[in-house]
Every structure is written in C-alpha cells, then in structure tokens.
Amino acid sequence: MRRDPADQVGVSGVDDRRGGWPVMGRRIVSAVLLFHIAAVLAGALAASPASELERKVVGPFGVYHEATNLGQSYRYYSPAPPPTPVVTATVAFDDGRPEATVRLPDRGLSPRLRYQRHLALAHHLFVDFDEARRFAGDGGRSRWARAYARHLGKTFPGARSVALTVRFHLIPDPARVRELRAEAGSRGVNLDAEEFYTVPERIGVFPCDAS
C-alpha cells in the first residue's frame, strides 16, 4: 500500500502533521467523520419514498441516530405544501358548566414560537391518529390523543370527558379566491371561512378519570 508522502516522517523529511494533528489522530477522526457522514446521509435517504437498499442501510445507524438526535429526512414542503391539521378539544363537565373548547393551534398565543409549538401539537396528533386509524383500525387508539385528553382533563378540574376532533385548514383554490376577491372588494378574503376547512373527523371521546 502506498503511503502519502506527508505521512513518511523521518524518511522524506516531510512534516507528518497537518494543522498540528498527528497522522494517527487524523486517521481516527477521519474514520469517525466517515461514519458520521454515512449515518447522516443514510438517515436523510431512508424516509419514504425510499428503496429497500436505502431502508436497510439506515439500520446499523439507528442507535447513533437515536443517541445524537440526528437522522432527519429534511423533506420540507414536499412533494407539495400540505394543508394544516387543526385539532379541536371539547371539554365537558359534570357540574353543569358549559363545555370548554380548546383549539390547537390557539390563535391567541404569543410569541409566535408558542403558536408554532401548538401547530406541532396538532400535526403530531394527526399523524398518530392517522397511523392508529390505518394500522389499528381505530383512530381513537391514538396514544397522543389519550395523552392530550389527560392533559386537558388536568387543566380543567372537574372535567368529565374530552372530545377530540381534527380537520384540515385547506390551501384555498386560487380560482375561488379570485371569485371571493371580486365579491369582497377591498375587504379581502377570509381564509378562516368554513369553506376552507374539511369536515371535522372524530378522534374520540376520552373520559377524564380513565384517560
């Protein structure tokens, strides 16, 4: 095996260090770098749609991904910007109080980062609900739904049950927006109008004492 002339200290007189690092140090770090780069690439490529090869290659890096919180797929807004899930929780009480409604995300939250976190709450609940519906045949078995209901039950003392629904805030059809703009004139278009939401889907009703 041929050696890099820079490695041959004492033979050629060439300094065997680059940036002050000894050869062995560079080799060890290079091995770690290769592993890390492979792990990050494998994680990015393994998200669906992915080949069987890509899904198999990511396996050995699982522990590394989990320990370092790396391995994300970074597929933002693809294949197209999606509609946004919006969750509504209706809290019922035993003592005759009127029902309380919680919207996720809550538009009144500030600063904006808090609102983004609530958007994430709704997104993760929908993903879990959708998986439960597809794989278990019952969206009500969503674990996050039960966790959210439990949290709301604690937040509203005396709550009897929490009913969760999810619907999508749709991306408006530009043709419809043009129509509405023509009708509304300078008042603008209300993108929160009911027509821009899907029909709410029931996730489940969760008794607070058993959640």
Binding site: R75, A80, H151
Partner: protein, 476 residues
C-alpha cells in the same frame, strides 16, 4: 491489454492519493474561528429564546401532566428510538422550575462563550433532552438547532472567537503586557498583546466543515423531494405556502390575481426549487458563494416574514455563517484593511487606567484601538486641541476623523466600536443613563490611584522607578 491495466491502476492509485490529500486539506486545514464563534452566539441565543418561551408553558410541555404524558413518551421512544434519552425524565415536577432556570443559565453561558467546551456539550444535551421529552411540540427549528449545537459540542472549538473565553484569554495577555511596563517613562507595547484576529485551528475547521456539509444536505433533500410534486413543476407550490391559513401573517391573497399569479407565484416557486437544488453546488464555487448566501438570506427572510417561521429561518442563517469568511466578518466592524479608528489617551501613571487599557486591548476587534500613554506622548501631535490638564482629568478618545470624546462619552465611543461591548453601549446610551454615567465616571476618575498609591495587582508588579509628582500625584 497490459498497458490498459497499468494505466487503469495508475489512475486508480492517483485517484486514491488525490482523494486522501483532498480529504486532509478539506477537514484538517486550520480555519478562522470567527464564523464558528458567531454560529455559537446565534445558536445560543436561539436556544435561550426557545427555552425561555418553553418556560411560559413549562408544565404543559415538560411536566408529568403535560401534553406529552411521560409514560406515553417512554412507550413512543421505546418503540421508535430505544436509545433516545432525555435529562428531563429525571426531573420531578417540583424541580421543573429550578431545572429550567439552571438550563437557561447554562445556555446563557454557552451563548456568551463562557467555559465553551463544557457549556457547548451541556447546551446540546439540553436541546436534545427538551425535544425528546416533548416530541409532540418539535418542528424543524428544533432539529436544526440541535444539529448545529451537536457540531459545536463535539468539535469543542466554538469559544475560540466572539466569546468570554477569548476575552479572558486576551485580557490576561494584555494585563501581562501592561505589567511589563518598562519604567515610568516607558511605553507599554500593547501590540504584544496580539491582534483581534483569533488563531486558526483544525477543531474550528471540523466544526465549520460539518455544518457546511449538513447544511447542503438540509437544502438538497427537500429540493430533490419536491421534484416528485407537480405543484413544484407547474409553478403553484408557492401559493400553497403563502396562502396556508394557519401560517399566514399578511393577506397575500392578491397573489391569486393576474399578473401576480403568473409572474410572482410561479417565479417564487421555480426560484425556491432552483435555490434548493443549486445551493449545495454553488456554495462551493468561490465566485458563486456570495450569490448562494445572498439567495439563502433572501429565502429565509421571505420564510420568516410570510410564514412567521422566524426562529427556523434564523437557525438556517446561523448555519450559513459557516460559509462566511472570518476576515470579512471582522472587517465589518474593524474596517478593511484593519486600521486604528480610535486613539485612546490614558494616564500611564494610573494602574486602574492601565488595567482599563488591558480591557480595551482585549475587546479590540482587530487593532482598531490604539492606546496612547499621555504621560509620555506629545499631545499636540495627536490632536492640536488636546489639553494635558483635561486629558489627566479623564480619558480622551480621538477618532479617525479627528473628533474628540471625553470621559464617559469616550467610554461609549469605544463600546460602540467593540462588538463585545455593544450590550454596554446600547444600555449606556439609553436617554438619562449618560447623565448618570458621566457623574460616576468623573467620580471614579477623580479618585483614581496613581502609582504611589497603588491598590491593584496590575500596578503592584512594577512600582515606579522615579517619583511622578510632576505628572500629577493626586487625582485631578
């Protein structure tokens, strides 16, 4: 055939040698630490902000009765990421607030660059712990921030610039130079305290290279993935982003009208896709790098403004700093080429003044300050209006345009020129504060010790070799 095989072998051997050499040059050449220091500052501040906002919903996000029931999170992680960990799992509800406050303190120290090698690791652990404890509140911002924090932690070099660590190192060096003052009539060789340019290091380069490569992947993957979607081909995808009801900050529905629909929405769609696909290549081509960085800045500014994803955009821009040149970044505050923009006249017979000059030298971004000992200097040669009596009463600063500021105002002049002192400059310029500042400064200047009445260790190491009564023994 033999020739073909030998040529192929020679080609393969050369390729391997070139690859090894290129790899070493890419990863193991020392790099300027300024960009990495700025990335640390940005990541630290964003993490501090994120934790601070989490504090508004601390129990809801991290408590046992929160949205993410710890039992469900453990089950979720055991199925999907059994090696995942979170320090928050060990924090009982009663300790949430103290633990959160401690995390804020650690991240604050990390942002400031204090104990950077340790605080960088702790800040990363806090970032990861928080995302793992509450996986239902996580979005792209958290992943990007934790990734940059990871690289800052593992390379351990983020405190080599723009940091309290470096400030302390430079102050110690400056103070040592001040201690070597060669007699009462000698000049202190402040130049020996070094320049503002931090020393290049391999650890810094590793951090920058890893962030650069990861950043390219963060742009490339969504770019490639978008090619699957027809909306990115027919030019309508940008509409789906700006008209998303839950994200909008402004009414942009007018974009549905012509000619905006055809020319703005379609152009924005194609430009966004072209940017994501071209950035990972263009940013490595030196002449195209400024264009790639400008496009990234414009893209993230647009994302921040229209979608309100400000923190995500800032985190991505922080990553883009990895491609910025250290000397260029320093030249933004030090000028190009670096040249003294402020001569600082101080009383060389006053230990406190010499210690102050050690601070001034330590915060100097790149030789923009020139300390001048007025006791051994011909003042009219510096500025004809300078009066020795007045200069002995308080510090004077003469800037490159010949403007003279005095006392507290001179301190502010210096603070505005030294990025590390910008927080002080801002706070010290708030209306009303300068009035108080001038009084405090004058009181300190009047009561300052001189070498005969030495009170601190800086002057204690070099007592005067001759009486300095003629220079003004008593504070004036």
């Amino acid at each position: 055939m033999r020739r073909l095989l030998s040529d192929l072998g020679a080609y393969a051997g050369g390729l391997v040698r070139d690859a090894r050499s290129g790899w070493d040059h890419f990863f193991f050449a020392p790099a300027d630490p300024t960009p990495l220091g700025l990335i640390r500052l940005a990541v630290g501040l964003l993490l501090l902000w994120s934790l601070g906002v989490t504090g508004l919903d601390l129990r809801a996000f991290l408590g046992s009765d929160g949205w993410a029931d710890p039992a469900v999170v453990r089950l979720f992680l055991s199925e999907r990421a059994p090696s995942a960990w979170s320090l928050w799992f060990w924090v009982p509800d009663a300790w949430l607030v103290p633990a959160w406050a401690a995390c804020l303190a650690v991240v604050g120290l990390f942002a400031a660059g204090f104990g950077s090698r340790v605080t960088a690791v702790l800040a990363w652990a806090i970032a990861v712990s928080t995302t793992r404890r509450s996986p239902v509140t996580v979005f792209g911002f958290d992943d990007i921030l934790a990734t940059w924090a990871f690289y800052l932690a593992v390379t351990g070099a983020s405190g080599r610039a723009v940091s309290v660590d470096r400030l302390i190192t430079r102050y110690r060096l400056s103070r040592a130079v001040a201690r070597r003052r060669p007699g009462a009539k000698g000049r202190i060789a402040w130049d020996e305290a070094g320049t503002g340019a931090p020393a290049a290091s391999v650890g810094v380069n590793l951090g920058l290279r890893l962030i650069q490569l990861h950043l390219c992947l963060v742009y490339l993957m969504p770019g490639l993935s978008k090619l699957q979607g027809s909306a990115w081909w027919d030019g309508t995808a940008a509409w789906g982003i700006v008209a998303a009801g839950e994200f909008r900050r402004f009414d942009l529905t007018w974009l549905a009208e012509e000619p905006y629909w055809t020319y703005v929405v379609a152009l924005a769609t194609h430009a966004a896709l072209a940017f994501e696909l071209s950035y990972p290549v263009a940013v490595w081509v030196r002449p195209l790098r400024p264009l790639a960085l400008a496009a990234a800045s414009a893209t993230h500014l647009a994302i921040g403004l229209t979608l309100g994803l400000t923190e995500f955009s800032l985190a991505m821009l922080a990553g883009n700093l990895a491609f910025a040149s250290g000397p260029w970044l320093r030249s933004l505050v030090a000028g190009r080429p670096p040249a003294p923009t402020a001569r600082v006249l101080y009383d060389g017979g006053c230990p406190r003044c010499r210690a102050s000059m050690a601070v001034v030298t330590a915060v100097d971004p790149d030789r923009v300050f020139e300390p001048v000992d007025l006791t051994v200097t011909d003042l009219p040669a510096i500025h004809p209006a300078l009066d020795r009596e007045a200069c002995m009463r308080s510090m004077h600063v003469v800037d490159a345009r010949g403007r003279v500021s005095v006392g507290y105002d001179a301190v502010l002049t210096l603070a505005w020129r030294a990025p590390l002192l910008w927080p002080f400059a801002i706070a010290g310029s708030v209306p009303g504060v300068p009035i108080l500042g001038r009084r405090i400064y004058d009181r300190i200047a009047r009561s300052r010790p001189r070498d005969e009445a030495c009170t601190d260790d800086t002057c204690g190491l070099h007592p005067p070799t001759q009486p300095r009564a003629e220079a003004g023994r008593t504070a004036r």
